[in-house]
């Protein structure tokens, strides 16, 4: 309150003191810097809080990446590599290690006589000799086994296999990549033509009345939770499509992809429509003045000018489709097979994480590989978003500058 005083008394002072002197002095004094610690603190606080988005992006990367780090660095190994021991070597081992080697408890070990022990050691060596040429000696969590095909026992050629819960867990990620790409491809084939065409129609040709109906409808579509779209695909869409196309596996990349497309349409429509409407009116008016029909203006003038935006819409749609979880988890069948057919069921990266994370051992190899998948997914969507946003930004700058 004290700092308010001068303001209220100023007039009185000016009246009493000789005008020339007081006014000059006050001029300098009254507008001098005040310290406002509250204001200063609040401003710093606001700035600090506004950094939270950056912090969150960083934390997401750090904490998802952290769990995956041992796999990335190749520090994990699930290979069973015990060297077979001769009976002589075995007797020199301390009791607890020997017990562990044979696979019995220490108390049991103490009950054995020397002869039994020798037999057990020989049996173990025999067993290990057999194991040594099987898959169990392979570290299936190495980069090579996660991304390159391997000829497992019983297979006649190298294959990509994701079988994290089999006796020898196989973590090859390629089937999941194929699954994600397949579902995404179907989704884009479905949603890009529809979304872009609708964006052209709504922004260039439709009457305001149609626009008033379509735009809220698409907002409505984007507001439908993905679990609901997944449910619809699973219960209704799958049956319809199977009746039409007569394929064998009811849930497959086609069903999952189309449902995924429903989730992607609002993304593509919104961004494409935004790009198309940001083309300056002067472009289209010039063309209309030359006698071009509205559809020609839309096709030959507006669409080319907004093409980068439409492209960005597709990129962002791709990112959205790759990252969507519930729809593909419910509607794509989840079989991790390597197949080019969209009528086979597929298992995406996201669905794999969602389905398996609840059942893994915390900190185990499987757990870490799921986090690795998450990290890869994050990196992919990060890049697609960055590229998409950059294209949109540049386009807008160019159109606004023109």
């Amino acid at each position: 309150m004290t700092e308010k005083q001068p303001v209220e008394t100023r007039r009185g002072d000016a009246g009493v003191a000789p005008a020339s002197l007081s006014r000059t002095d006050l001029g300098a004094a009254i507008i001098r810097k005040r310290s406002r610690p509250g204001e200063w603190l609040a401003e710093r606080g606001i700035f600090a809080v506004s950094l939270s988005s950056i912090v969150m992006i960083f934390l997401i990367f750090a904490f998802v990446g952290r769990e995956a780090l041992p796999v990335i660095l190749g520090q994990t190994s699930n290979a069973r590599t015990q060297k077979p021991l001769t009976p002589d070597e075995a007797t020199k081992l301390p009791a607890d290690k020997l017990a562990k080697y044979i696979g019995v408890s220490v108390s049991e070990l103490k009950g054995y006589d020397a002869e039994t022990l020798k037999t057990l050691v020989e049996l173990k060596a025999e067993e290990l000799a057999q194991v040594s040429n099987t898959d169990s000696r392979i570290n299936t969590t190495s980069w090579q086994k996660m991304f390159q095909p391997h000829r497992w026992l019983g297979y006649d050629k190298p294959e990509y296999i994701w079988q994290p819960t089999s006796e020898i867990p196989k973590y090859n990620c390629i089937p999941l990549f194929i699954g994600s790409l397949k579902a995404t491809l179907v989704a884009l084939l479905f949603s890009v033509p529809l979304g872009v065409a609708a964006a052209i129609y709504v922004s260039q040709l439709a009457s305001p009345k149609v626009r008033e109906i379509v735009k809220p409808t698409i907002e409505l579509l984007s507001g439908i939770p993905s679990v609901v779209l997944g449910f619809f695909a699973l219960i209704v869409l799958a049956t319809i499509l199977q009746t039409i196309f007569h394929y064998s596996s009811r849930l497959n990349a086609l069903v999952g992809g189309i449902a995924l497309g429903l989730a992607v349409i609002p993304v593509i429509f919104t961004i494409a429509e935004d790009a198309l409407t940001s083309v300056p009116k002067s472009y289209s008016q010039a063309a209309l003045a030359l006698g071009a029909a509205p559809w020609q203006v839309a096709w030959q003038v507006v669409l080319p000018a907004a093409l980068p935006g439409v492209f960005a819409a597709c990129i962002l749609g791709f990112g959205r489709a790759m990252g969507e979880t519930m729809i593909v988890l419910m509607a794509s069948g989840n079989a991790s097979i390597v197949s080019a057919s969209i009528l086979d069921s597929c298992r995406t990266i996201t669905a794999t994480i969602a389905a398996e994370l609840a059942e893994v051992v915390f900190g185990g190899a499987h757990y870490r590989i799921l986090f690795l998948l998450g990290t890869l997914l994050f990196a992919v969507t990060f890049v697609t978003n960055l590229v998409g946003e950059m294209i949109v930004h540049r386009l807008k700058a160019r159109l606004e500058g023109a």
Binding site: V7, R23, T24, G27, I30, I31, R32, K33, R34
Partner: protein, 252 residues
């Protein structure tokens, strides 16, 4: 008249790379009204907004030269712009009452200055509304929304709001440009009264208005001060040909 309120010397001002004011020299004297006139884009509003540093709100602006309030340079590092604005009030081109009641609009500035007691507030609000010649029209509906007032009343409310905090100077940026002739006449009359208590600087498009309300007039053209003199001289016997052409309506 020898102790000017504002002393402006060789003032240059830039918006980004575009220079808006060139070597402007103006002196504003106490308890007088000074008018800035000139065609659109001549820099008169820019200069006005330098006087309470409202231009600080615009990014990438730059100021050079001297501009002093009672000898204190306004752009000096030790100046507190908040305190400056408490002392140099402003009324804008488009009336901008807050979407609150009439009472709260005027109380806003007072509360910020630490006036909180109900009686003090009521007294000072009445006083400023009287000075702004609005009291009789609104005294029965102080708690109504300010947005319900007419354009002219809103602008007088903004004047009342500005003078309630008892500034020394009142800057007016084309205060009548959005008003009808009757409302304009009321505000012009008001300016004549306010002059006794405040130093007034007014930017106007309307030359008759400048002739009616101001004691001194500065004519700007393309960011330069063309002529600055006693108003009667500017309008009857200008020294500069350009000024004469403008005030007689040959361009602008």
């Amino acid at each position: 008249m020898d102790n000017p309120v504002f002393h402006i010397e060789k003032l240059n001002f830039w918006y980004g790379a575009k220079q808006a004011l060139f070597d402007v020299d103006v002196t504003i004297r106490p308890n007088q009204s000074t008018a800035f006139i000139g065609p659109s884009g001549c820099g008169k509003t820019t200069l006005l907004r330098c006087l309470n540093r409202m231009n600080d709100l615009i990014e990438r602006t730059r100021v050079e030269g001297k501009i002093a309030l009672h000898g204190q340079g306004l752009y000096a590092p030790e100046v507190d712009v908040i305190e400056l604005r408490k002392r140099v009030g402003m009324v804008f081109q488009k009336s901008n009452p807050f979407p609150k009641s009439i009472f709260d609009n005027i109380a806003y500035g007072l509360r910020i200055q630490g006036v909180n007691s109900k009686n003090d507030l009521a007294d000072r609000i009445e006083a400023s509304l009287r000075k702004a010649a609005l009291w009789d029209e609104v005294k029965d509906r102080l708690n109504d929304s300010a947005m319900a007032l007419s354009g002219g009343q809103q602008q007088r409310l903004c004047i009342a709001r500005a003078i309630a905090v008892e500034p020394e100077v009142l800057l007016m940026d084309e205060p009548c440009s959005a008003l009808d002739p009757v409302a304009t006449a009321k505000i012009e009359e008001l300016i004549q009264d306010l002059k006794k208590e405040f130093t007034i600087v007014i930017v106007t498009h309307n030359m008759q208005q400048a002739a009616r309300v101001s004691d001194h007039t500065a004519f700007f053209y393309l960011g330069k001060l063309v002529e600055f003199d006693v108003t009667t001289k500017i309008f009857t016997n200008p020294a500069n040909k350009q000024t004469e052409d403008y005030v007689t309506g040959r361009f602008g």
